[in-house]
């Protein structure tokens, strides 16, 4: 049985300088109320791993605007002008990674793989400083696994055991990130007794804590 904690308890699980994976795609599938709490708590020097930089007032964008992010690892920052400004003024480190490579690095981090070979980025600046491996006559970039201290996931429906179901396009990075961090906290919109075992998208063994909230 996973522990259901209160939003006020989030402070016991975060610290300055930590790395956090945040689910969501343009803030769809991001546990917004957990981000709000991080803004309240003011933890800083964070390394945030997320598909994108969100918007100035939505998703991880709020942490960026509040100056809490030391480093952002994402595939796209175009819809948050503040992220672009902080990056170009050298106030926030930003590592841009092709989206398919980002999700696969996280998948490797969560599934015990030492990395993977991808053709994406060959012949571009993405390959700089990385090992190029030829296999069956084709060049691939060796991309390494990615892990973090904490994952903040948005679960549409969770059950009392900690199983999670994601609705529609809120799924995106969430189930993969839930496998690749030391601790996983699910922000849950709704709790039911038991999710149909055929419909579980994140098995409860990956989940550490659940916090009720969000719409």
């Amino acid at each position: 049985m996973k522990e259901i904690i209160k939003i006020d308890d989030l402070k016991f699980h975060v610290f300055d300088g930590m790395s956090i994976m945040v689910g969501g795609f343009m803030a769809v599938g991001t546990p917004e109320f957990l981000i709000d709490e991080l803004v309240q708590l003011g933890v800083k020097n964070l390394t945030i791993i997320c598909n994108d930089a969100g918007f100035v007032d939505r998703g991880v964008g709020k942490l960026i605007v509040n100056g809490q992010v030391h480093k952002l690892i994402a595939s796209h920052i175009g819809l948050n002008p503040e992220a672009g400004r902080l990056m170009s003024e050298g106030l926030m480190e930003c590592e841009l990674i092709p989206q398919g490579t980002l999700i696969e690095r996280i998948r490797c981090g969560g599934s015990g793989l030492g990395g993977f070979l991808t053709p994406t980025g060959i012949g571009t600046i993405v390959e700089e400083g990385k090992k190029i491996i030829q296999s069956e006559g084709k060049d691939y970039i060796l991309e390494l696994p990615l892990r973090a201290d904490l994952a903040l996931i948005e679960g549409t429906t969770v059950d009392q055991f900690g199983n999670v179901l994601y609705t529609k396009t809120t799924r995106n990075f969430n189930p993969v990130m839930a496998t690749a961090t030391d601790k996983v906290i699910v922000g849950a919109r709704k709790m039911i007794e038991s999710i149909d075992p055929d419909c579980v998208m994140t098995p409860h063994i990956f989940v550490d804590y659940m916090i009720m909230g969000g719409q």
Partner: protein, 220 residues
């Protein structure tokens, strides 16, 4: 042609490239508009890299469900038979060659089929998003864009901006014509009769191979 006419003209022509049953990914901006011009007798499966196949039309204001969005973050709908998946599956579909056609805009394209559309150093750094994976993995890459940037050529001998991918573009469709990239050359297959060959070549920095191109269908 004004801006909207150009957009619709390009989108209409792009839509004719699809075959029944194709899995298609449309990029943000002009490529998104292609969905409005799919011929009635063709059924394609629109993929969106944030995790769905079966992208439907934009909902009415009252029917918006903020849990269903496209890769641009805009609310969309899902058609019957459509489904959702996670980002890992989505990029497995993309890199794995299961997308038949991807349509993207670009800042530059060159005669080797390389393209640049994700960064202008010192000016604009939005990031590559899913573009690098899409152009690398899709079976056919179509660039749909205006022929020039306010008169400045975008179709070049060699891209000067950092590349999105090397040697991946198959077709370029602009308001001036349809161009195929083959063996390091750009072949003008179709042209818009509102322009002369000289005007089209002048707007293109790369040398075009012009060998009896046909007139584009002007009906939108």
């Amino acid at each position: 042609m004004d801006k909207l006419q150009i957009r619709n003209f390009i989108a209409t022509r792009v839509a004719k490239e699809f075959h029944n049953g194709d899995v298609v990914n449309l990029g943000i901006g002009l490529p998104t508009a292609v969905a409005n011009f799919i011929p009635k007798d063709i059924k394609i499966h629109l993929q969106s890299e944030n995790g769905l196949i079966g992208l439907g039309p934009q909902p009415n204001e009252d029917d918006i469900d903020y849990d269903i969005t496209n890769a641009g973050g805009q609310p969309v709908t899902l058609i019957e038979g459509g489904m959702y998946f996670d980002s890992s599956t989505s990029f497995g579909i993309i890199r794995g060659g299961h997308v038949d056609v991807t349509v993207l805009g670009s800042l530059q394209v060159d005669q080797t089929g390389s393209l640049a559309n994700w960064i202008i150093p010192g000016k604009m750094v939005p990031g590559m998003g899913g573009a690098m994976d899409l152009v690398t993995g899709a079976k056919k890459v179509i660039i749909a864009m205006t022929h020039t940037n306010n008169g400045k050529p975008k179709i070049l001998e060699k891209c000067t901006l950092p590349l999105t991918a090397k040697n991946q573009v198959n077709l370029i469709i602009t308001e001036m014509g349809v161009m195929e990239i083959r063996e390091g050359k750009i072949h003008l297959l179709e042209y818009n009769p509102l322009f002369t060959f000289e005007e089209i070549q002048e707007a293109t920095q790369a040398t075009l191979v012009i060998d009896h191109p046909i007139k584009m269908d002007m009906e939108v």
